[in-house]
Amino acid sequence: MTESNTTEPLNENKNKKEISDQSEENKEQVQEKGKEKGKGKTTENKNEKTIVKEPKISMYWFVRVFARKLRNVLVPVTLTMLLVIVLIKITNQNSDTTDQFSQILIYHESSSDSNSKKFGGSLLNAVVIVGVVLVMTVFLVFLIKYNCWKIIWGWLFLSCFWLLLVFGALKMIDVCENLNLAVDWITLAFLDFNFAVVGVIVIFWHGPLKSNQIYTILMCGLVAVYLTTLPTWTTWVLLALIALYDIFVVLSPKGPLKILVEESMKNDKPIPGLIYSSIIYLFSARIKPKNSGSSSSSELNSNFNPISSPSSDSGSGSGSGSGSNNVNSLKEESSHLEKGESELEKDVENDNTLAEDNYNEKSSLLQNEERKKRRLLARRKRRRKKRFEEESGVKLGGGDLIFYSVLIGKAAYFDYETIFTCWIAILVGLAVTLFFLAVYAKALPALPISIAFGMIFFFLTKIILVPMVKQLGVDSVMT
């Protein structure tokens, strides 16, 4: 197998089947892929597989698979954001909305405070929230280490059920109020109950993949809508802190999330919960998972346990709906707040030996990709490596969806321009993160880059773009 320099870092991580696939396809399709760099070389080598083609093959393959993975990830993120924006706009949520978080926040923001006081107070609030999140994650890691799977499942199950039931009902009522619809308790209870039960069944038990994805989006959207009711300064500082926390928790060797993922991989027990999966499995014959930690069959990345809004307990225990006053101290709240992590993890194929054989084969008969793939996979079946084979797919943690949507929600409070710029910024950040994922091939935090871009663009738009557009409108240059 050729190991040209440009492809060296990519080769170890890539789905080698695809590379060898391309070596055959490339002959026919190399002409069309004019946009790749270095295409001049390939025209002479139409009928032979030579080393020269290698960079081009990988580029083509890389772009193609990367684009597919990107699309698989961008769609749910965009849909969650859309859901949050629609809910916010319909219910006319804005900075004046009574926040339900006053019980857990130490510093209550009021507009009469000076900027530095606001910043200090928000920092305090955010540190407290992130601290609680850390505690819950560590607690979860302990539960996993001591194999208390029943507790984990029960906790997450109750959490999600409560969240869907209560937040769903409240949002439905809010939406109906704003749309002036008369709804009776019977219908509402019936629909809400159905909504919650189907959601729980589809996420924690068996259900069509699309339903699972839809409910993940719905759940993350609901949590995000409630999180945007935090006071403004607190939210922004919280976002920044969560991004930093994410880096620490995913990348550092002591990070709880890393341990979590490794433990769940070791025992081969996936953590149930909010992970958006876009993977399609080709084979379901599973013999033994590969023991490598973060590579090969291990898609799984983290759990994301939804942040239960502190005033509404989406979790075990006491408490009623949002706005409840019965949880007073922060300590009690912490039993309701749980948060896992958000990271992207790549599916990695470690077929180092496969590519060489394919490379030497003649494939004159196979014309289209389908048959090549099938043949390749059939060949692979004969090999000793038996594990799940995956098409391109990425698993995205629910925390990512939530915090992206919180950022967009805050942008939605302001104006439509900020929504668009932040949306583009987040998508670009996601693409960059996916690129790094392709290069490093291990679990990466998905939050920091996107949130950094999102925040930068939000403030830039707010300070520069919006006044400019308004001024142009006033001067009749632009409507």
Binding site: I173, C176, E177, N180, L181, A182, V183, D184, W185, I186, T187, L188, F190, F193, N194, F195, V197, V198, I201, V202, I203, F204, W205, H206, G207, P208, L209, S211, N212, P270, P272, S277, I279, I280, Y281, S284, R286, E299, L300, F388, E390, G393
Partner: protein
């Protein structure tokens, strides 16, 4: 469970049956998801469950729609009961 692992053949019938039973607790949408999930199966028992599940789903949906229609139109004339039933009181109606 991991949603990306497709169900094995022998598990399908038990899952279908469980969903069928769960649907009887006033949960027609569970029948709907069962129908979506097992739509392409050829096993006769599964087809039976899917078919009757769909029938149940549409029946309950019809009942729901009728009830909503009745409620929305007659809510005002019911006076006290109407108001106590409403979760949301629309603004600006008599």
């Amino acid at each position: 469970m991991d949603p990306t692992i497709p169900l094995k053949e022998e598990e399908k019938e038990t899952v279908c049956k469980k969903m069928w039973i769960i649907g009887f607790f006033g949960l027609p949408f569970v029948w709907f998801t069962m129908a979506c999930y097992f739509w392409k199966e050829k096993h006769p028992k599964i087809r039976f469950y899917v078919f009757w599940g769909l029938v149940g789903f549409f029946t309950e949906l019809l009942i729901l729609v009728f009830w909503m229609g009745i409620f929305v139109s007659k809510r005002d004339s019911w006076g006290e009961t109407g108001e106590s039933l409403s979760a949301v009181l629309p603004v600006g109606t008599q």
